[in-house]
Structures are given as structure tokens and as C-alpha cells.
């Protein structure tokens, strides 16, 4: 039991700190592509502290407050189910299916909170966010299913062990490249980056779900962004890139996954909602299905 306490404390903490690094990297990469200097190293921390140090904030009722709990709670729980080097957390108890369920909680929480703001831009934004979820979840679930079938287990710890036993040649990305590629595209959509950034869309719906978030609420969303990037990076790493043998390698892989996404995003515009669904259900889904067929054939 005592070992779990350490896991519960350290796993979200590590996730948060790594997430800050990922956010910083995303902003720096964007700055470099745009040929400018970019924010200072501590900028993500300054932003979050500043938002939490706001002296006034507007709440839109109980649901609005609760949604923030759901949002952060969902991600913190998800971190505990994600095995990282040195910490297994609850990954042995719950499996991949549980994790994917938990990962839907934050988005639903956000939907509930934004719904109580009565701002039409927020409502449109959240409906777009849920639509986007529908779009990227299908290829993602296919990729996850294929991977589980190939590994023969849904237990993340075992998946990591299987991949590490055989070295890089037995990594998911090497044994099932189609699934890994389809998964990467889905992961890009999951991070909400252009061309799949349909629910943020400042010029269309004034930043959608965030439109009424102020002070601490916005701070929570900034923290959520850290967790989101980290969680997505770690899931992908665990499934297809061999998980973590040790921290330096593990972090390098997580950063690499996020790096691909943030490097690509800055040279694309944003799709329309229907284009995104069509694209997601066509290419990543098709690739992942082909990968799944290959896995089943073997």
C-alpha cells in the first residue's frame, strides 16, 4: 500500500513537470519555425502562476467549478495508470481499456463546464471538440486494438516488457508500422494541433471552450494542456516505441512524439470540421485497418 502512495504523488508530479517541458518545447518550436526567439524557459510556469494569482474570477455555477475537478482529476488519474520507468502505479490493476475510458473524462468534464457558461462560442467549441473526439478516436482505438492483439495483452506493463525484451526490433513501430503510423496521425488529432485544431479556432469561434474561462479556471486548462501532451506522448511511447527503459531514453521518446506533432502543425491551416472527420476516417483509419488486418493475418 505504501508503495502506491509514492506512486500517486510522484507520477502526476512527474507528468506535470514533463508536461511543462513539452509545452515549452511546443512554443519554442513554433517560435523557431516562425523565425523568432520564443518564450523564456520558465514561461509556462509564469503563465500558470499568474493565472492562479488572479485576484478575481468569474464562476458560472457549481457545474463550472466541478468541471475543472473532472478535468484535472481525469488526467491525474490517467497518469497513475500509465507506467513510467520506476513507477508502475495502478497500471498492473487496470489496463489499457480503463486508461482509454479515463482519458475521455476530461473532455466530458470540459463539455459540462463550458455548457454552463451560456456563451454560444463555448457551446460551438465544445460540440466541435466532441466531434473531433469522434473523429480521432476511431483510428486510435483501431491502432490500440491492433497493438493489443499483437502483444496478446492489454496490460501496459506487460506490453512494455514484451517490447523491451526484444530491443528496438521488437518495438511496436518496427513490428507493426502501419498501426504505428495510423496511431501517430490519430495522436496528432488528439493533441488538437492544426490541421485538426477545429475546437480552439480563435478566428472562428474565439477560442471555443476557453472563451469564458478566467483566472484559476484558465490556469487549470493550462495545466491540463501539460498533462494532455504528456499523456498522449507516453501512451504512444508505451504502445509503439518500447516504453521506458530508463528516464533519459523514455523522456527522449516522449519529446520526440510530441515534437513530430508540433513541428508539423505550424505549416498547416486548420481543416473544417467535416473535412477533418472525413480525413480522419479515411487515411488514419484506413492505414490502421490495414495494419490490423496484417496483425490478424499473422
Amino acid at each position: 500500500m505504501m508503495s502506491y502512495v509514492a506512486d500517486f504523488i510522484f507520477m502526476p508530479l512527474i507528468a506535470f513537470v514533463t508536461g511543462l517541458g513539452l509545452v515549452l518545447m511546443a512554443r519554442r518550436v513554433r517560435a523557431k519555425i516562425e523565425r523568432r526567439v520564443g518564450p523564456p524557459v520558465l514561461q509556462p510556469i509564469y503563465d500558470i502562476v499568474k493565472l492562479y494569482a488572479k485576484k478575481t474570477q468569474i464562476s458560472h455555477g457549481i457545474m463550472h467549478d466541478l468541471s475543472i475537478m473532472m478535468l484535472l482529476g481525469g488526467f491525474i488519474t490517467a497518469e497513475i495508470f500509465l507506467p513510467v520507468p520506476g513507477f508502475d502505479g495502478l497500471a498492473g490493476e487496470g489496463d489499457l481499456i480503463t486508461l482509454i475510458y479515463i482519458m475521455m473524462v476530461p473532455m466530458l468534464g470540459l463539455a459540462l463546464g463550458v455548457g454552463s457558461c451560456a456563451n454560444p462560442n463555448g457551446s460551438i467549441g465544445i460540440s466541435r471538440a466532441l466531434t473531433a473526439m469522434l473523429a480521432y478516436d476511431i483510428p486510435f482505438i483501431i491502432a490500440v486494438t491492433g497493438a493489443c492483439m499483437a502483444y496478446g495483452t492489454t496490460n501496459l506493463i506487460e506490453i512494455v516488457q514484451i517490447q523491451q525484451a526484444g530491443g528496438p526490433a521488437s518495438w511496436g513501430a518496427a513490428t507493426m508500422p502501419l498501426l504505428a503510423f495510423g496511431g501517430l496521425l490519430a495522436v496528432h488529432g488528439m493533441m488538437g494541433k492544426e490541421p485538426f485544431e477545429i475546437y480552439i479556432a480563435p478566428a472562428e469561434i474565439a477560442t471555443g471552450p476557453m472563451v469564458e474561462m478566467s483566472g484559476k479556471y484558465m490556469g487549470a486548462l493550462f495545466i491540463m494542456q501539460c498533462f494532455q501532451l504528456y499523456t498522449i506522448g507516453v501512451i504512444y511511447t508505451t504502445l509503439f516505441l518500447g516504453g521506458g527503459e530508463n528516464w533519459p531514453f523514455f523522456l527522449a521518446k516522449v519529446f520526440a512524439v510530441v515534437f513530430i506533432s508540433v513541428a508539423v502543425t505550424n505549416v498547416y491551416g486548420r481543416f473544417k470540421t467535416d473535412t477533418m472527420i472525413r480525413w480522419m476516417w479515411k487515411w488514419p483509419t484506413g492505414i490502421a485497418l490495414a495494419g490490423l488486418a496484417l496483425v490478424m493475418a499473422n
Binding site: 512554443r27 488572479k54 478575481t56 455555477g61 472563451v211
Partner: protein, 248 residues
């Protein structure tokens, strides 16, 4: 320019009020830390109120790159810290500026951009533009010129950062403390039925910024004339989130 004598107003002393909690070392350290972070993370509201906004894209983009000092544009007033009044304000815009300003969350800062915000500038005899910004909302800093260069914008942002870091940029408290005066000036321009959806007095009460100047002659008018009843809102605001005025 004018043979009419200018109206003399009491300039309130803008300084930080000391509350009891501030005596403890912990609170002081935390406040210091918060100020430090506030100064280094400034979100500018994306609102082009006038022609000065044309110099903001150069300031933000690759050549001058505001983000390297932690300044980035933000879309909604809820999240923004700085309201840049980029130039002249027509009366119609001023209404929206006040609405946006009241929706922003404290601490918030206002920078008047260009000569037009100081004394009407080029449009001093125009019937449509407001001559003095600081009569209607508290402005922390002004940039002179028509129009100010990106370097000047950066300079003023750095100055604002210094002020925030030192805990001196407290114009927003002035709005709570002297709401009556600001509202009076607004009413003089927009008519006596002018009101905004944000209940500034209730906010001042709730967050402890109530001062002698918060309520007075003009806010009484708000009570009397507004199409909704302020007195139906309970005196005390036990819960957060109750600080909005009810609409009929």
C-alpha cells in the same frame, strides 16, 4: 486649445492597500512571487480599438517578437491582463471597451496608445472620439506619438513589467475604489441610463476593494434608473460566483 477651464479632479493616490495578511512573512513572499510571475506573463487582449493596432502585428511577429518577454495576444477579455487602447476611441467603441475592461479579471492593466488617448490628438475637434481615456477607465501608462513605433510599444510593456514587479501598477484598484467617479464620467457621455452587466460594486464588496469613492451620487442613479433592481441582490456574497447582477 480651449478657453474653458479644465475640470480639476482629485487625483487619488494610487498605492497598494495593506491588508492584515500582508504582515505575515509567508504572504509577503507569496505576493512577491505572484507579482514576479505576473510581470513576466502578460496576455494582451486582441482588440484593435483604433489605428494603432496596425503596429501590433509587427510588435508580436518575428521582427520584434513580444513573446520573448512573455507577452502574447489573448482572444477573450476573460483571460487577458492588458487592454491596449490602440488609438482614438469613438464613443461607440468606448462602450465596448468599458464592457471588455469590466469583464477582464483583476489585476488588469490599461495602456493608452498614442496621443489620441491622452488628449484627443489629431482628432481633438472631432465630435465622435473621446478625448481623455483616463476619465473613463484607469490607465496605467500612456505612449505618446501618432503612431507609436513597435519599439515604443515594447518600451512601455517593459516599463509596465517593472511596475507590476514592484507592485505599483494598481490602476485596477482605482476603478473599484473610485467607481463612482468613473461611472459619473461614463454617464455624462452615454446618458444617465448607462449601465454594464458587470456589477462592479458587488465585486468590490466581495473582493474587499470597497472604498469611499466606490459608491456615491452616480451609482445611486444606477440603482434608481437601471432597468433591473440592484437591491434585489443580497448584501453579502457568501459564495463565489454570486457577484453577478441578476437580470429580470
Amino acid at each position: 486649445m480651449s478657453d474653458k477651464l479644465p475640470v480639476i479632479e482629485d487625483q487619488p493616490e494610487i498605492c497598494r492597500s495593506v491588508d492584515a495578511g500582508e504582515r505575515s512573512v509567508w504572504t509577503r513572499v507569496m505576493n512577491r512571487f505572484a507579482d514576479h510571475c505576473r510581470a513576466r506573463s502578460l496576455f494582451v487582449l486582441h482588440y484593435c480599438t483604433g489605428c494603432g493596432a496596425i503596429e501590433l502585428p509587427p510588435t508580436i511577429t518575428s521582427r520584434f517578437d513580444m513573446e520573448r518577454v512573455g507577452v502574447s495576444p489573448m482572444v477573450t477579455p476573460r483571460q487577458a491582463d492588458i487592454l491596449l487602447i490602440t488609438g482614438y476611441l469613438s464613443i461607440k467603441t468606448l462602450k465596448r471597451v468599458i464592457l471588455s475592461y469590466e469583464q477582464m479579471q483583476s489585476p488588469k492593466y490599461v495602456i493608452g496608445f498614442g496621443s489620441c488617448t491622452i488628449n484627443g490628438g489629431m482628432y481633438w475637434n472631432s465630435y465622435a472620439t473621446v478625448k481623455r481615456l483616463d476619465q473613463y477607465i484607469p490607465a496605467d501608462l500612456f505612449i505618446a506619438g501618432c503612431m507609436p513605433r513597435p519599439e515604443a510599444v515594447q518600451q512601455v510593456l517593459l516599463k509596465l513589467m517593472e511596475d507590476i514587479d514592484a507592485g505599483k501598477a494598481n490602476g485596477w484598484q482605482d476603478y473599484y475604489n473610485n467607481y463612482d467617479r468613473y461611472l459619473g464620467n461614463q454617464q455624462a457621455l452615454f446618458g444617465e441610463s448607462w449601465h454594464t452587466p458587470t456589477d462592479v460594486i458587488a465585486e468590490a464588496k466581495h473582493y474587499g476593494y470597497l472604498a469611499d469613492g466606490t459608491m456615491g451620487r452616480h451609482t445611486d442613479l444606477l440603482l434608481k434608473r437601471a432597468d433591473y433592481a440592484l437591491d434585489r441582490v443580497p448584501e453579502d456574497y457568501p459564495e463565489r460566483g454570486k457577484n453577478e447582477r441578476r437580470l429580470p
